[in-house]
Amino acid sequence: MIEPGRTMPNTMQEVKFYQTGTFTVGNRLLKENERAVQANMERTNSLNSGHRACQGCGEALGARYAIDAAMRATNNQLIAVNATGCLEVFSTPYPESSWQIPWIHSLFGNAAAVASGVAAALRVTGHTDTRVVAQGGDGGTTDIGFGCLSGMFERNDDVLYICYDNEAYMNTGVQRSSATPPTARTATTMAVGKEPGNVFGTGKNVPLIAMAHFIPYVATASVANLHDLEFKVTKAMSMHGARYIHIHVPCPLGWGSAPADTIKLARLAVETGLFPLFEAEDGEITGRTKIRRKAPVEDYLKLQKRFAHLFGSKPDEARLARIQANADRNIAKFGLLD
């Protein structure tokens, strides 16, 4: 993927934070205009409190971060389209809605298409400053919504599509999706039999597939890295055409992890190399966030009950090694280590 000898620029984000121990983000140390949107008391809070997400939900966090950043970037001229899924369900429990912005839920597999329609209407009615963001989980994006997503990419419709990837169909009770990692336990890949948990497939890397459509902007992001996520959303909203951001969001319920570990897990996914952070424009990688301190995959996996069957009295060395190999391959492919 990256030619040997060719240096790739790091992601162009100006400021990076490194945290040890506490989770305080040191905004006090920055000038006001360098601070995160979330640090601002005047932030739009587009996904307002009172929604019904689980304690520690990574998706709620990701959506709040992303939409608030998009609102700032568009001067609050934003319409959101949401696929069926956890985010849609917990944010709009009748008779309430957490959304402070114009928002439409259509169906499971068509957020990209509905968003394309909204964008077309805005164009034709002369509302050129109003922007559109589409949101879906991994199920609604990589599986059932894949056709509409590709269509939107191919037409270069002016939509930013954000996928919140918690690696399974969580809302319906934790069933496996094409984003579910190998060996993970889900309700449809139980930890029983000769090969417990999800099988080792070929995987479906939607960010790379998005890049294959040569759309203006593709990025991956993590709730562990707020500034990086906000930077990428802001950058995406400075462009027009089809854009895609894939955000990794831990799910305590589905992953069997402690609600307090959500950000830690997200960070470990990045630091092991299992979830590479990178940006691409027009089909070429333009930047990646390097791993500061590489972690072995076990550190990440053992905090999640969905991987519990890999550990215990007889650890599954062979499959752990394969997972480590996947992580190492990502590190090599994306140049994540110096």
Binding site: N76, P102, S106, L107, A113, V114, A120, V124, E154
Partner: protein, 417 residues
Amino acid sequence: MLKQTEGSHAVAEAIALCRPQVICAYPITPQTHIVEGVGEMVKDGTLVNCEFINVESEFAAMSVAIGASAAGARTYTATSSQGLLFMAEAVYNAAGLGLPIVMTIGNRAIGAPINIWNDHSDSMSMRDAGWIQLFAVTNQEALDLHIQAFRLAEELSCPVMVCMDGFILTHAYDRVDIPDQADVDAYLPPFQPRQILDPADPVTIGALVGPEAFTEVRYLGHHKQLRALSLIPKLAAEFATRFGRDSGGLIREYRTEDAETIVVALGSVIGTVQDVVDELRESGERIGAVSICSFRPFPVAVLREALQAAKRVVVLEKCLAVGLGGIVSDGIRKSLSGIQLKGYTVIAGLGGRAITVSSLRQLFQNAIADELEQVTFLDLNAEVVSHELEREAQARRTGPTAEAILRRMGTVASQIG
């Protein structure tokens, strides 16, 4: 302006006159010529202020339409048969959300077996989705109904399907009168949405509704269609005043005043039925016909009035409720609740089989003599059917039914009717 043109093209011109803002569609026979016609008009600049989007599936087409309509644009799409089924989820969604999308259905049979010719099974599959369904008898009516449809949809905030027989109407060259832009503008004002995605006034569209309120939302959708029962004739009357011809409405009666036998049908077959009615009237039979234009909402009251004095009603349907018989018949029976008369269901024209004057003549004569079964399949090839049943009784591995029948019947091309 009078023109001799293909039905699809006439409809495309009517759509263009309605000043659509977003059009999206996916190709499927036999509606393709409509969308190609509008697409060309957008591309060459004849139709301005219109976004034409080539989508990747019918499901995408209805989804794009939903987004566009929710964001305040007058939106149109078209499909048939398999395409309508592929967008089924979104079809229900559009009605549930109350979005005034107008869609043309070029009526075509649904497979298996795959068949590209006309029948009404596609529209019928979506009859309870909450869309208004209007059926055109002629290409003139097809084009007129689209103009009425946008007005109807937007006044009620309810999507409308205009159904026209695939090939028989879509691909037929007919004389049509294309209205003037000024007249259409006077009849159809700019779209004023009831709900709109607008940052200046944010709303949540498509919230989850639980048992506490779902029934009420559904009831309101039903109520909307009941209101359409008065709005449809009102808009048709206004259309007649402005454009000078009768198009649309709930039903149309033909020589029913003293009729003992009344034939009921939807769509273009009524033309053939009327010719046979005239013939039989010549020989003294008291026979008439009723065409249903508004199938949803189903015009229970006016049908009752039109049919109640007859001795017998023959419902000629281009669709089949498999395992039951008629679909339209069910609605007719409901209209005639409490009234004693003979009702016959005739399933005809499935998969594009021609409904001929000679078959109808014989059929109506049998009906008049009350020598008809409850459910008749018109022109059924009994020999082919019994041979197939016998084959299946003899062996297990009989192979695909369609292939076996086609082989038995020989080349299709050698037959005309």
